[in-house]
Symmetry: C2
Subunit: 249 residues, 2 copies
């Protein structure tokens, strides 16, 4: 059988949020390639070759996967969430574009998954129920000035906003600055949701306002959602519902 | 057993893109509530009560589902894609907020699904691989002026953009105007993807530029993605790959 490459989304963590399409690809694979903690979520089989790598080597990992597929292996690159949202799919296509011409003829598929913002949104209600944007707050691959530029336009557009990678130990100050810009643009009363590790045993959710939000409410496993001006909180016993109405007026 | 309400995402169409979590809820349900074509995707059982309704009665449908759950029924409201993205979840929480206090104590869960933009993005590569926004182009529930305002800020932020409900027979001119604004803000060379009915038998995908895009390339089953200034096309035999690099520079 000739080789192929599938870039698959494992969803946010729970086994029942993995699509059957992804399960089929994993069952057919000869090789699994990915960041260690994601590879660890794939059930092992004696004949399965597992290539676990460290974080921040996405491009090298993509090249390895493409080389294996070119050798005739059936390769699944695993991502958390959806592979197309701040995950491995873009790295694979960067490698395809820069690599040998023959890589363009490989059978390459991207298999979508439940990305963190959809799991987090579902967990608290429907805060992304109207127009929204999705920003990676990590400044590894873009300057802070661009992040701030996007935050200001997103606020001006009155989008709800989902933020990936809000805060790392190496760059704790970035999220502080983001919160300050958001408070300036959206006011202290705007709703904010911190949804950590949704669908896993470490899940923790907090709903508050920008005025009461502190940077240490997030870590790198937290998905942050800031509501639009229309996002509403519905108090109830236990965790409130948060949703954005369908209508803009 | 006491009643509950689950708002479930059936994904874009293919059976293997429905999560096991959603399948479990459908199997446990006593009642299915939703728009006719979505309800038709649920396997019938003799004891299952099916409440199919017309389009554009989301609020009434949500109230019916809440009433059934309050009576002790196990109710699944079905949406295409993800229920939290321009679908039924927001309508349910609007009804909860406006309805009797007792509805707030109901067991209500939102079960995420593969939303159309993730399926469309996966289908062509990774055009949403960097910061992006997601806009409903229907002017049913918001004025055109707000749509244009958001398009201009999204272009200024240099987001990739995913558009839901680009074009209906009743309002064909809206998408024409959106394309004109986008050409003005992003230029004729900007990549645009038309992904119709991804993962179904009626699937049809076209990759072109804003300069060559025509409004009739979309209908209400089409998900449209416009790239950022950095989105790239990788030619290959057959359909090209389209992706947005992870890095902004």
């Amino acid at each position: 059988m000739s080789g192929w490459l599938a870039v698959a989304g494992l969803g946010p963590g729970a086994a029942d949020l993995v699509t059957p399409e992804v399960e089929t690809a994993l069952a057919e694979a000869t090789d699994i390639v990915g960041y260690g903690p994601y590879v660890a979520r794939v059930p092992n089989r004696p004949e399965l070759r597992v290539h676990a790598s460290d974080n921040r080597v996405e491009y090298e990992r993509a090249c390895l996967a493409l080389e294996l597929a070119a050798q005739g292996r059936r390769v699944v690159v695993v991502s958390s969430g959806d592979p197309g949202v701040f995950a491995m799919a873009a790295a694979v296509f960067e490698a395809v574009e820069a690599g040998p011409e023959s890589w363009r003829e490989l059978a390459i598929r991207v298999l979508p998954g439940i990305t963190a913002m959809l799991a987090a949104s579902a967990h608290v209600g429907a805060p992304l129920g109207h127009d929204f944007c999705c920003i990676n707050l990590s400044d590894n691959l873009k300057p802070w000035s661009l992040i701030e530029h996007r935050l200001r336009h997103a606020a001006e557009a009155d989008f709800a906003m989902a933020f990936y990678n809000p805060r790392s130990q190496a760059r704790p100050q970035g999220f502080e600055r983001a919160l300050a810009v958001l408070r300036e643009c959206c006011g202290d009363d705007r709703l904010i949701v911190f949804a950590r590790a949704v669908s896993t045993a470490e899940e923790r959710t907090r709903v508050t306002t920008l005025g009461d939000a502190r940077a240490d409410m997030a870590d790198m496993r937290t998905l942050v959602i800031v509501g639009s001006s229309r996002t509403r909180l519905v108090p109830r016993p236990g965790q409130p519902f948060v949703y954005t109405p369908r209508s803009a007026s």
